[in-house]
Symmetry: C2
Subunit: 296 residues, 2 copies
């Protein structure tokens, strides 16, 4: 067994970006006090989910990586000796912005970054306006607690992303995320969506013999004034951890903020892969068409 104690910080966004980062840092301190060695924050944790409408002034909130938020997370990582996975709005250049995960190692060094590769765009989630698709590929990050396969939100629906991280030796899949219901969705549709979100990620854990962490926002965020895009988003929380057979290890509230602390055995994946040796049997000679848009 090689156990890592991980903390998933599921929060309700506050109004002010600085206040949100401060609150995250307080939560990281509380998580470290529980003995957590790894802290996963939710997607774009520095404030409200701003993609409910397309507004050019929002780009003012983007920052370089490394930059101010990376520095603040670096300081707390070093002070507490914990690995932190954060999620920032990166300004790379005028007109080139990314949805970027940063990984601060336990000594405070910037161990690596991941730029969200799959960018959604649907009513209330106008991310293609804000985020240039990532160009760093699917590369895990080595840290004091292991090799982390960090992906972001929409990536969680793509088996290819999880597979490529696993094939690069990731020992754990991590998803900062921001997903919720349209408040007008009926209850049965809400259940299907939440269960699908959980199930597809558990499927990645199973297909790759890896544990997985997903940290989501929680609570209602109204649509901006004059938005043409709906009725706001009711983020469904439900952050969770599962093991390499997809078994749920811990799960957070649908409605309330929570620091979900869970022990992850990074060694169990190898035992599971001996029982279910999928990587031995992949038909790489017959997968060429995966590189096509459609087989027509």
């Amino acid at each position: 067994m090689r156990t890592v104690k991980a903390a998933l910080i599921q929060r309700v966004a506050q109004a002010e970006r600085c206040a949100d980062l401060d609150a995250c840092i307080q939560a990281i301190r509380a998580a470290a006090a529980t003995g957590s060695q790894l802290v996963l924050l939710q997607e774009l944790h520095n404030g409200a989910y701003f993609c409910q409408r397309e507004r050019t002034e929002v780009f003012d909130a983007a920052e370089p990586v490394p930059g101010p938020s990376t520095a603040a997370l670096r300081d707390v990582a070093a002070a507490l000796g914990v690995v932190i996975v954060g999620s920032l709005f990166e300004r790379r250049a005028a007109g080139v912005y990314h949805n970027t995960a940063v990984v601060l190692d336990a000594d405070g060094s910037l161990a690596g970054v991941y730029r969200k590769m799959h960018i959604p765009d649907d009513p209330g989630y106008y991310e293609k306006f804000y985020f240039t698709p990532g160009d760093l590929g699917f590369v895990p990050v080595d840290t004091a607690v292991g090799r982390l396969g960090v992906l972001v939100c929409w990536d969680q629906w793509f088996p290819e992303a999880a597979r490529l991280m696993a094939m690069a030796g990731a020992e754990l899949l991590l998803y900062p995320t921001a997903i919720g219901w349209d408040p007008t969705d009926p209850e049965d549709e809400r259940r299907r969506q939440l269960d699908a979100w959980r199930t597809v990620q558990r499927g990645h854990a199973i297909a790759n013999g890896l544990p997985l962490l997903a940290c989501n926002r929680v609570g209602f965020e109204p649509a901006p004034a004059a938005a043409d895009s709906g009725d706001g988003i009711l983020f469904w929380g439900s952050s969770f951890a599962c093991g390499p057979q997809g078994e749920i290890l811990a799960s957070a509230s649908e409605t309330a903020p929570e620091c979900l602390v869970v022990d992850i055995d990074l060694g169990r994946g190898e035992a599971v892969r001996r029982l279910w040796p999928f990587f031995r049997d992949r038909r790489i000679d017959a997968y060429g068409d995966l590189l096509k848009r459609w087989r027509d």
Copy 2:
């Protein structure tokens, strides 16, 4: 809505191969009497699961495709006007045998075949001895009820197989399968395995916006005399159907034979894909390493 009534015939294997095929045909007649238009049989439905031990004489039971079993299924398909997905031990040549799914159209014609691409090999499932890996790729079959993405058992753990079928226009994923517990497995491991099996397949349905059918054996089959490979297999039944959000539509017993009849709406997948347009956003420019064994 474009509804197809499907029947999944979950059976306990009998001793004699001919008796098993006769029993399958009786079950198909009963399914057709319920109004079913599509019948899915379990993997290698013509007898006991013979891969618990490696024995050269077992190859005597293999047959050409088309051959006697295909002809018997053809006759019943034509007589009843139903589409049948069967699963046979194919003798292609001396020394070349396959685990082959056959698709009989509602007029009795052989609409297509699929040769199992991913071949397992673990204690009690010595399939690499018996089955040459398929060489027909992942090609769906057009039938009177729609374009069927037929895969077989071990394929169900590979997101690549489902993805390639979906990208070729499959409207429904179908898995004849034969999976169970080692009777010495403790109860918690049994639950993890069964739930993982169901979850990973539901994940394929979700990732591809497609409904899915899985038809499994049920009941205990002892290991052959003098087997070095364990204590037999307790096939776990639990055949199921799910929709394009992975929602369970119907589920069969863990312990008893059953003809599970379920209505599948082949039209709902398009609505789901408009909400969750994963195929729009696949990063085919960054998936090249999926064609590698490992990224090292």
